[in-house]
């Protein structure tokens, strides 16, 4: 028996929900609108209708070389994610398919490394990076982002791999499949969705990481987080241009995020809420 809902109640709830949703979304929307205004319009008081100029987007590129930090963000988030996956897939695999008594302890220990406050190891990392000439380098920062996200990657992959039924492997083996065939034809197709979700969430986390990316870069390897943070002083960019730079910085990840809602819950709660 389905619950009966009067149309009136539904309309009431709908209005309430949309008002709340639009209020929460408003700052993002307003940044988008401001990015289409001229600098004079941007400080001329509240208005939701911009003159529709794309000038700011062009200026941000020509004056500030926006493309460089953007590419750094792409390289860092993709690079660190792929590196983390390469390290994590074998171990998540082993823990899911050949668990031992210690598997749970290892998983918990990995999770505990994520809880170390970054700032507590800021100086050692800074000194190590300086010693090895890794400050402001994409290589150094890629390694850093890999390290801080590795526990989440292992955990996410583990929760996905664990759901692949072990019996299917035995069945394949009974049918005479070699280990290689088992991996290529049986396991991989079942593991790909989990790996893809992990990839997606980790790109988002790496893209938005704003402690190490700001601490360890100056110009060369600076991704968008550090680039935008450098405009915190009022002399930096004017607001319409800042809005244009901000809109471009968040748009790709916002769209990726919309597609990864479910994985987000799972990944960030370490499988505790599904």
């Amino acid at each position: 028996m389905a619950r009966k809902v009067t149309t009136g109640a539904k309309i009431g709830w709908t209005i309430a929900a949309w008002v709340v949703a639009l209020l929460i979304f408003f700052p993002i929307l307003y940044a988008l609108i401001t990015s289409l205004k001229t600098e004079q319009e941007a400080i001329a008081g509240f208005s939701l209708i911009p003159s529709g100029t794309f000038e700011n987007y062009v200026t941000v590129q020509t004056q500030r070389d926006y493309f460089k930090p953007f590419m750094n963000s792409v390289i860092l988030s993709l690079g660190s994610t792929i590196l983390a996956l390469i390290i994590a897939i074998p171990s998540a695999w082993a823990m899911a398919f050949a668990p031992t008594k210690r598997t749970k302890d290892i998983l918990m220990w990995m999770l505990s490394t994520k809880m170390m406050p970054s700032v507590a190891v800021l100086l050692p990392i800074f000194i190590i990076f300086r010693t090895f000439g890794l400050l402001d380098s994409r290589v150094g920062l890629t390694v850093m982002l890999t390290l801080i996200n590795l526990p989440i990657v292992v955990w996410m992959l583990y929760t996905y791999f664990r759901e692949i039924p072990g019996e299917i492997l035995e069945a394949a083996r009974m049918d005479g499949a070699s280990l290689w065939k088992e991996i290529v034809y049986v396991l991989t197709p079942m593991a790909v969705p989990g790996i893809a979700s992990t990839l997606l969430l980790n790109i988002i986390l790496a893209w938005n990481e704003a402690f190490w990316t700001i601490q360890l870069t100056t110009t060369n390897a600076a991704p968008l987080t550090a680039f935008i943070a450098s405009f915190s002083s009022p002399q930096g960019l004017f607001w319409a241009k800042l809005s244009a730079a901000s809109t471009m910085a968040i748009a790709p990840i916002l769209i990726l995020g919309w597609f990864s809602q479910k994985q987000l819950v799972r990944g960030l709660t370490f499988g505790a809420v599904k």
Partner: protein, 290 residues
């Protein structure tokens, strides 16, 4: 079926991530611990000497230390209160039969994907700016004096920004938990004559308690490390009014070049984070046994 062979293979497969994480955890932490007992300033790198507990004492007697601990507490608890209560309310609202639920969901979770510096700068310049912000426009519309948020209520302003970023997370997790509540149970309760309030108290709250625990613990881990939002808005000020522990350590270490002092602060931060971590590990660990 695990033969000796597969066991060895499994160990080999796990080795890379275990070794990498072990090095990552042990080496920098050991260095921090070592530095915390040294007089070491990056401006005078030649004069390094053993300091005993001086750095801890220095940190402990610094009035900014207690203020930063207090600010950290206020920041974490403030954001938790807003996101858990607001998140529950919004999750319940979205869970109602509404038109366009998918789009509403997308709008509500969006702030979570905005990188911290962008979120903070949008709020600072376009929403809370005393001259040109939307809040100031609203105040002027009603003939009131606009509030200079970051000068008058610096910590509260940071709380608002961070709460905006984390509200979607709480909402999304709580909504996921709500939707897993068995609709037959709800109907049974309704048939038995339980009204909305009773259903909420006796059915929804117990069901959500687990998700709320997870939200609180995970957010706390991230909230203890809030940094970029403070850096681009108040820079910890005025004075130390919006400096949390993370920001104080950053100040000591990077702006004061004081390696020893920063390291001592770092060790204190580790201890605090560990207290939270123990509870989180228990909550997550329980789930593994199922």
């Amino acid at each position: 079926m695990a033969t000796q062979n597969t066991k060895t293979l499994a160990r080999l497969m796990m080795a890379p991530s275990v070794i990498v994480l072990l090095v990552w955890m042990v080496v920098p932490l050991a260095m921090t611990l070592y530095y915390s007992f040294q007089n070491y300033n990056l401006l005078t790198p030649m004069n390094v000497s053993f300091a005993g507990f001086f750095n801890y004492q220095y940190f402990y007697t610094d009035p900014a230390f207690f203020q930063s601990i207090w600010n950290t507490l206020v920041l974490v608890l403030g954001v938790l209160a807003i996101t858990v209560i607001g998140g529950t309310a919004i999750a319940l609202l979205i869970d109602q039969p509404i038109f366009g639920q998918g789009i509403v969901r997308i709008l509500v979770i969006s702030p979570f994907f905005v990188m911290p510096p962008v979120a903070a700068l949008i709020w600072k310049n376009m929403i809370m700016h005393p001259g040109y912000g939307v809040f100031a426009d609203i105040a002027k519309f009603f003939g009131m004096q606009p509030i200079d948020w970051f000068a008058q209520y610096p910590l509260f302003s940071v709380i608002i920004i961070v709460a905006w970023q984390w509200l979607p997370f709480a909402t999304l997790i709580l909504l996921t938990a709500l939707q897993s509540l068995d609709s037959e149970q709800k109907e049974a309760a309704e048939m038995d004559g339980a009204n909305f309030i009773n259903r909420f108290i006796y059915l929804t709250i117990p069901h959500l308690s687990r998700a709320v625990t997870v939200v609180i613990l995970i957010q706390t881990i991230f909230l203890l490390g809030i940094y970029a939002e403070i850096l681009v808005t108040t820079n910890g000020g005025p004075g130390y009014a919006s400096t949390n522990l993370t920001f104080l350590i950053y100040r000591t270490a990077r702006l004061g070049y004081d390696v020893g002092g920063g390291a001592a602060g770092g060790i204190i931060a580790v201890v605090l984070a560990n207290i939270v971590a123990i509870f989180l590990m228990r909550a997550v660990g329980k789930n593994l046994d199922k």
